[in-house]
């Protein structure tokens, strides 16, 4: 069964959104609860491996446009110089490492897509290392994120070609925001509100990959979207309610996506993709 955010909130009731999602997945697939959790745990391990390979300073993509930048970012973080502090900084570094690992044909977990694969692992793994989140809690948080992702995918879209980058990085930030709210003790309603705040902040974001490749601006947007996830979670945890019903924000995203011209939906024709300097660099690299 597919659920809207308000249906997920009702389903969780007084209990946890993570438990509701695990139970639902087990019932749908006929797997045991233990097996469902074990699968998510193996995905978590894969996320950790992707970060490690993405931090390699020698990494380069086939086009030459990405790779090795997360290593620079990490160095600055280790020097304690990142302006946003260590927790957010680490999430951003890890998001970039994952996105670069993806661009360089490394192994990643689509979350919800390959193009937006850095945001959720970045936030969850940073919480594990900087905020004492256990592996078990991290697995729970990934189920909360998956439930949110399902609500978005079935009511709007998670594909850049259909809905623009708001559907990819926006959805990933919404999933990460709900996961963060969950890890900090937020209620199911607060998780849904956090997801809505994240989408609200990325509404209208276009999908404009240079050369049609998942590199520029995708890698950098994975980094920036982490900040949106933390901001959204912080707002709801402060007791701020989303003034719009969260499902309506998802539907707004769908409407905005439908209104985007084809040139801004993953065709590589408009936005950043139309900028001459990077196109020239890409051409020089691939010829």
């Amino acid at each position: 069964m597919d659920f809207t955010l308000s249906e997920w909130v009702n389903l969780a009731g007084e209990g946890s959104l993570a438990d509701a999602a695990v139970k639902q997945q087990a019932e749908e697939t006929g797997m045991t609860v233990e097996a469902v959790r074990a699968t998510m745990h193996s995905h978590l391990c894969c996320m950790q491996e992707a970060v490690q390979s993405g931090l390699d300073e020698k990494l380069r993509s086939v086009s030459g446009l990405s790779g090795g930048q997360a290593a620079l970012f990490l160095k600055r973080m280790q020097e304690g110089k990142l302006l946003g502090g260590r927790l957010l900084g680490k999430a951003e570094v890890y998001a970039m490492a994952t996105a670069e690992c993806n661009a360089c044909m490394g192994k990643i977990v689509a979350a919800p897509t390959a193009g937006a694969c850095g945001i959720l692992p970045g936030t969850i793994l940073a919480m594990m290392e900087e905020s004492d989140v256990s592996e078990e809690q991290a697995v729970d948080a990934l189920f909360v994120a998956a439930a949110v992702g399902q609500s978005i995918a079935t009511q709007a879209s998670i594909s850049g070609a259909e809905g623009g980058c708001q559907a990819e990085c926006g959805s990933a930030a919404a999933m990460a925001a709900a996961a963060l709210a969950y890890l900090e003790g937020g209620t199911p309603q607060q998780c849904a509100d956090a997801a809505a705040f994240a989408i609200m902040n990325l509404l209208g974001l276009v999908c404009d990959p240079v050369g049609g490749l998942v590199e520029v601006p995708c890698v950098y947007r994975n980094v920036g979207s982490c900040g949106v996830a933390f901001t959204a979670a912080d707002m709801v945890l402060s007791g701020i309610r989303c003034p719009i019903a969260p499902d309506e924000v998802i539907l707004a995203m769908k409407e905005v996506g439908d209104a985007l011209p084809a040139s801004l939906r993953e065709t590589g024709d408009g936005g950043c993709a139309a900028c001459a300097s990077v196109r020239a660099r890409l051409k020089a690299n691939t010829l």
């Binding site: 069964m1 597919d2 999602a21 639902q24 997945q25 749908e28 697939t29 699968t39 998510m40 193996s42 995905h43 894969c46 993509s61 086939v62 086009s63 690992c101 993806n102 661009a103 360089c104 044909m105 490394g106 192994k107 990643i108 977990v109 689509a110 979350a111 919800p112 897509t113 390959a114 193009g115 694969c117 959720l120 990934l142 189920f143 994120a145 998956a146 439930a147 992702g149 399902q150 995918a153 079935t154 879209s157 998670i158 594909s159 850049g160 070609a161 259909e162 999933m175 990959p209 050369g211 049609g212 490749l213 998942v214 590199e215 993953e266 065709t267 590589g268 691939t286």
Partner: protein, 233 residues
């Protein structure tokens, strides 16, 4: 690059479609889907590939190098799955193993933007042509097999029968499956013209025993029987 992943009305999204699949980047449609197409073709050929002509259409033609679509297809043809790190080096591995690969850009009228046409020769000289599309989220559709129009995904157990169009062939195949209590989820029959080349594609809820497949192969009107097991990931 066109990627559409709209869940159909009757389709439920598994939570592991949102966090997953585990795959080699950078693109679920241009890399993971491409690897799945290659692997499906390799399974359909049912022997190692010694020669492959790969024709890219549409968005695939524009961006195949940068997305590693070429490496993903060849890796799949060598039997690699979507999460196999060797996909990256598949072109070198293919060369070392003596596989002859050539890439081309083709224009297939009316085809999905992410379509590839494969013309394969196996080590025993067996040949296979296939057109398939990567339709988003790593999902694929096979649209043409040895010149005949088909429509299947390889996600379920799939039985493909290549036969001469004749009365009773369908009954014999479905009868053999009924004898094994195997339910048919979906079935399509295609033919070039009456009495000529024909093909049957059946998506099954269970896997038939090898001896059933063998017995079908010996039927007079049946030219070839191929069984694809449900894709594990």
């Amino acid at each position: 690059m066109k990627e559409t992943f709209t869940p159909k009305d009757d389709m439920t999204m598994d939570l592991f479609d949102l966090i997953g699949p585990v795959m080699i980047g950078p693109s679920s449609s241009h890399t993971a889907g491409a690897a799945r197409i290659g692997l499906t073709a390799r399974l359909l050929l049912n022997e190692d590939v010694c020669k492959a002509e790969v024709g890219f259409h549409g968005s695939f033609a524009k961006t195949y190098r940068g997305h590693g679509t070429d490496r993903a297809i060849v890796g799949g043809l060598m039997g690699m799955a979507v999460d196999d790190p060797r996909l990256r080096d598949s072109l070198t591995l293919a060369r070392e193993s003596g596989m002859d690969v050539c890439f081309d850009v083709v224009n297939i009228r009316g085809a999905h933007p992410n379509t590839v046409r494969l013309t394969l020769t196996g080590v025993s000289g067996k040949e296979l042509t296939m057109e398939a599309a990567s339709v988003g989220g790593g999902n694929i559709e096979i649209h043409k097999l040895n010149g005949l129009n088909v429509d299947f995904t390889g996600k379920e157990h799939t039985l493909i029968i290549h036969q001469t169009d004749a009365p009773g062939v369908i009954a014999a195949v479905t009868g053999a499956l009924a004898g094994q209590s195997i339910n048919i989820a979906n079935m399509q029959v295609y033919r070039r013209k009456a009495g000529a080349d024909a093909m049957m594609v059946l998506e099954l809820d269970g896997a038939p025993e090898d001896y059933v497949l063998e017995s079908l192969k010996h039927m007079k009107a049946i030219r070839n029987v191929t069984f694809l097991k449900r894709r594990p990931c």
